[in-house]
Structure formats: structure tokens, C-alpha cells
Amino acid sequence: MSAAAPTATVERAGWEAPASPRRSRRRRGWILPVYTVLVIAYLFLPIAVMILFGFNDLKGRFNFTWQGFTLRHYRDVLQFQELTLALRNSLLIAAVTTVVATILGTLVALALTRYRFRGRGSTNMFIFLPMATPEVVLGASLLSFFLTLGLPRGLLTILVAHIMFTISFVVVTVKARTHGFNREWEEAAKDLGATPWVTFWTVTFPLILPGIMAAAALAAALSIDDYVVTAFNSGQTSTFPLWVFGASRFGVPPQVNVMGTIIFVVGVALALATVAIQRRQGGAAPAPGGS
């Protein structure tokens, strides 16, 4: 769709009031967007509270009741060295996990939906197992494995663990996209001299990108918020959730809220930036393809 088509869609969706005679259309046109905004508001509700309490001028240590407005936690956001370090670790781990798990998981998903081969059925079932395994078991058995290997716990083992338990989520999500993928585009690419590798990058990948992005987002969220498995395999490395859970014994400092707020605001800004960039490029997402 071009600059023109989305406008048309948006109009139909009722973001701009259409001309008068289209009453029925307008009516059903605003329900979905309003609903979407409501759900997102619901998702953001606790975030709003979090942001609010980042400004709480608390007197004690427990950030539970509103005491008044202050910016001092923003000034002192790096007050807790360990927290800062933990956050940095978590971001790093999430980034690496997302990239690696998304790649590995996407390959598996492609194999499972695009090819018939022996062991496909059992592989399909096997993929669900790590998701079904309780986190304590995942953490404890992986720790015991690392101990058997004599592998010191740290950043590396956390990464190994995170990649391990996010792969399945990626596979399942990407499969939802690649299922029933219309092969004729790939055939056309190959016909035009593209090797499977090039075909993948120039055709398959852009067309399944929405699925990959959804999977990557899930992987990132899973990794950045993981507590149990990380606790087992972190050794002397601290992560954001570990620190925050620990801190809850003596009161989670507002700096945690501030950091959450920063992550959130940067996230929203990035999201809006992509919109702006796409507007500038005048392009939009590829047209959906049937099967």
C-alpha cells in the first residue's frame, strides 16, 4: 500500500470522520480502534502507576503510598550501583538472547513448516516441552548440568539458559506466520536466479518478518523478566529482576520505577519514530499475501 492506501484504510476505520451518508460504516468503524486504544490503555495502566511512583517523595524506604512529588529519584537514578549494573546486564542478556533465539527458532520453524522429513512430528511435540517444564525444574536441572560440566556460572550460563527457554516461544510464534506460506513467491525468486539463500533474504524473510518480529518481541520480554531460571544459573552476575526481587525485602527504591519509566519512554519514542520514518518513506508494510 502506498501513502494513499493506508489513508483510505484509516478513513474506513473511522479515524477521520467520513462524509455524512456513511452512518453504519462509521459506527462499526470506530469500535475497533477505540477497543484497541482501551486494551493498550489497560496494558499501560500499571505502567502509569509505576511512572507516578517514580516521582514519589517517599520518606522511608517503601514506595507504597503517595507522599508528594519530587524529581530527586531522577537525579539519583544511578544511586544504586548494583541496580545499574543489573539493568545493564539484563539489557545485554535480553539483546543477545533475542537475536540468537530468534535466529535459531526461526530456522526450526522454517524447517517444520516448509519441509516434510522424518522426525517432523516428534520435533513438533518436542518443541512444546521446554515451555511446559516448570521454571524451577528448568533452572535446577540446567544448573546441575553446568555443575557436571564444571562450568562456572555467569553471564554466559544465563545466556545459554535464556536462549534455551525462549527458542520454543520463537518457534511456535514464527510457525503461526509461516504456516500456509504461499510458495509461489519463492518459486518466482528462484526462477529469477535467486539461490535458496538469496531467496530467503529477499523474499521469504521480508514476508515473514511480522512473525519474526512478534517472536523477537516475546523473546525479549521473556528474557528481560526472567527470574527463576536466572537465579539458578547467574553465579555472581546480577540481573534486574534478581535485584528487584531481592530489594523487595527492604523496599524497592523508586529508582527502579525511574529506570522502568526510562525504558518505557524510550520504547514509546522508538515506536513513534518508526511511524515517522515510514511516513517519510511513504511506504508501508507489505501487502498481506493469501495462500
Binding site: 502506498s2 492506501a5 513467491w185 518459486e187 518466482a188 536466479g193 529477499t202 501487502a287
Partner: protein
């Protein structure tokens, strides 16, 4: 004739129970324009897909340039395809769609630009390079698909109804362009079309397929004038087939007694091997329609009938004439018009006359063998 560029040897393809292509053998000479004709579902697309490398034959062997291509993936075959369903890349604009193959061949950027713009001009889509595929009309999409394949000047070009969505005028223009390119660049074209005129005017050779099998291969005039089977006769333009039995095989012209009782003369060579019961064919445009009162000319074959319908179709008038044995004969008459001309009225007795040279003979189809698309009149 030159070397064989594309050769199919007893190629078979099954989809489950469906035999889509059944022991097809074809030899296509380098640089020629070869058409595949046949009713819907007869296996044309499947044949092209096997040549392109998208399906593996279940049986038989395909050679390109004299070498078997079994297992050779599509991207290693110097073959490009215009897909029946276009298969344009939805995430790329028109320019990038067309440039796709050139980019893969690492053609320098400026050359790509020039060639893409050239070919877009050629398919009459100048200025469309920035459009998304979803912003094109059906015919425009088809032309992009054509451009995307053409721009690569491959050795073999497979075209699956490449002009089907175009209006007559544009189609004619594209036909000329295709023919010119094919001659100039010496590309081997394998061309699926439903437009018989297209097939007739453009092809050096053609094959008529039916239910996965090749019924007849030859050059266009041959196949048209001397269809080998009732099916081919019926498929290539309307044909009148009159049942009868052979009375006389000798001489330049044999004689067939029609079931109406009338006798017609047929070129003796077409009788070779035909059983006693045959069908006698004559193309509608070969028949002259004359007032029933006219005496038949000596040299002509002639049949009497009663006009049922006459239809005006621009270029010509069409007449449906009932014969005494319950059959129908179709006649096309050029619409020369003019106020003074005799025009038969429905219900009127008419005389249908044609030159024996234009008569051909085919074996009648044993019932039941017929598949979709093949119900003759």
C-alpha cells in the same frame, strides 16, 4: 531445423490420483516459438513447471540444451517464467520486481536502471516503477510479470498465458514485441495461450494437449488444416464434424457417405488407416452459405440444411444450420455487408458448399474417453 533446446521424454507427473501430465514427449528447437494449447486443466502449467524446475517429474526425463536437468534447482536453469498467477513480490515495488533477476545476476546498477525502464516502456507501463503491486490493475500486474521475466533475456522463456488479461489492442502490440524479441535475442519461447489466433500467428510449432497427453504436435497450419483427431479438430476453432462412412478410398479424392445420405469428397491421404466409420470435418469459415434453390457447383462438396440462428459478431456473421440427420453445422461468413447482399433468414432452406480440399477426416471418438473441456457439438 536447429538443435533441440528443450526436450521432454515421456515425462509424467501425478498429484495423488490425478495424472496431470502423462508421458509427454516434446522436442523444442532452439530459438523457436513453441505454443502449448489445450483445454483448462490439461496439464500445460504443470508441464511448464517441470521445465522450470518447480516440480520434479515422477517419470521421464527433461533435457535443456541436451543435458538432463533432473535435480537441478530453478535458479540454476537459464529459464525464466511468466507465471499464470503472476507471483509478483508484494513487498517490492514495480521497479524492484522487474529488477529482481538482474540484481541476482549482479548486473551493474546503471545498466539495471536502463534495462528496467526499457522493458517497462515495452510493456506500456512507463512511469509505474514506483507503484506497489497491490496498486496495479489486473492487466498491469500481468505486464509487470511479463517484464520481470523478459528483462533477463534468458535462453528459454516459459510464458503461461502471459497476455490473457490484456485487451485485444494491447495484446496485439505485445505479441509483436514478443515475437520481435524472440527473433532478435534468439530466445526459445514456450508459450501457453488460450487465444488460438495468437498461437497460430506467433508459433513456429505447437502442441495440443488433452488430459495430460499430447494429442498432436506440428506447425500451426498443419495442425489447423489437418487435425489428427476429432478432439484437435474441435479444439482449434469450431469445427463441423459430420458422421459418415468411407465409400471410396482410391484416387486423389475418396468419397464418404454422410449419415444425411449426401456424399462428399475428401482428400484421399486423410483417409489413411481410418476405419470405415469416420467423421468428416470442415471449418466454418470454409463454408459458403447459399440459397437453398441454388444448384451445387460440380467441384464442391455440398450439404443441405435449414438455417436455425444467425448471429452478428462484428467481423463476421455466424449461422447455425440444422442438417436432416439432426446435426448442426456452423458457418462463418465475412461481414462484407453491403445493402444488396443476400442474407438467409432463419427457417430458410440453405445450401452449404465448400471445396473438397478443405475437408479432413478423423476417427470418431469412442464415447466416454472424453474429459473436461472436450464436449464437441
Amino acid at each position: 531445423m536447429g538443435e533441440i533446446d528443450v526436450r521432454l521424454i515421456e515425462v509424467t507427473k501425478r498429484f495423488g490420483d490425478v495424472v496431470a501430465v502423462d508421458r509427454v514427449s516434446l522436442d523444442i528447437v532452439r530459438g523457436t516459438f513453441f505454443s502449448l494449447l489445450g483445454p483448462s486443466g490439461c496439464g500445460k502449467t504443470t508441464t511448464l513447471r517441470m521445465i522450470g524446475g518447480f516440480e520434479d517429474p515422477d517419470d521421464g526425463r527433461i533435457e535443456l540444451g541436451g543435458r538432463s536437468v533432473a535435480g537441478l534447482p530453478p535458479y540454476r536453469r537459464d529459464v525464466n517464467t511468466v507465471f499464470q498467477s503472476y507471483a509478483l513480490f508484494p513487498h517490492l515495488d514495480v521497479f524492484e520486481n522487474v529488477a529482481y533477476g538482474l540484481r541476482r545476476k549482479r548486473v551493474p546498477k546503471p545498466v539495471i536502471r536502463t534495462r528496467v525502464f526499457e522493458v517497462l516502456d515495452l510493456v506500456d507501463l512507463p512511469g509505474f516503477q514506483g507503484r506497489r503491486v497491490s496498486q496495479l490493475s489486473g492487466g498491469q500486474q500481468q505486464r509487470v510479470a511479463l517484464a520481470r521475466a523478459l528483462v533477463n533475456s534468458p535462453r528459454v522463456l516459459l510464458l503461461d498465458e502471459p497476455l490473457g488479461a490484456l485487451d485485444l489492442k494491447l495484446r496485439k502490440q505485445m505479441q509483436l514485441e514478443l515475437k520481435r524479441i524472440q527473433r532478435e535475442v534468439e530466445i526459445t519461447f514456450i508459450y501457453v495461450t488460450h487465444d488460438q489466433e495468437e498461437a497460430m500467428t506467433m508459433s513456429d510449432g505447437l502442441a495440443v494437449m488433452r488430459s495430460g497427453r499430447v494429442e498432436q504436435v506440428g506447425n500451426p497450419e498443419d495442425v489447423y488444416e489437418h487435425p489428427a483427431t476429432e478432439f484437435v479438430a474441435g479444439f482449434l476453432g469450431a469445427s463441423n464434424l459430420l458422421p459418415g462412412s468411407i465409400e471410396e478410398r482410391e484416387g486423389e479424392f475418396g468419397v464418404v457417405a454422410l449419415s444425411t445420405g449426401e456424399k462428399v469428397r475428401v482428400p484421399a491421404r486423410t483417409l489413411n488407416g481410418a476405419g470405415p466409420r469416420v467423421k468428416v470435418g470442415v471449418r466454418p469459415e470454409k463454408i459458403r452459405i447459399l440459397p437453398g434453390s441454388n444448384p451445387p457447383e460440380q467441384a464442391d462438396n455440398a450439404v443441405r440444411g435449414r438455417l436455425r440462428v444467425s448471429t452478428y459478431v462484428g467481423v463476421s456473421n455466424q449461422y447455425q444450420v440444422d442438417t436432416p440427420d439432426g446435426g448442426t453445422v456452423t458457418v462463418y461468413e465475412q461481414n462484407l455487408g453491403g445493402p444488396g447482399r443476400w442474407a438467409p433468414a432463419p427457417g430458410e432452406e440453405v445450401l452449404l458448399a465448400w471445396h473438397p480440399e478443405h475437408t479432413f477426416v478423423v476417427e470418431p471418438e469412442s464415447s466416454g474417453v472424453e474429459q473436461e473441456g472436450g464436449s464437441d457439438e
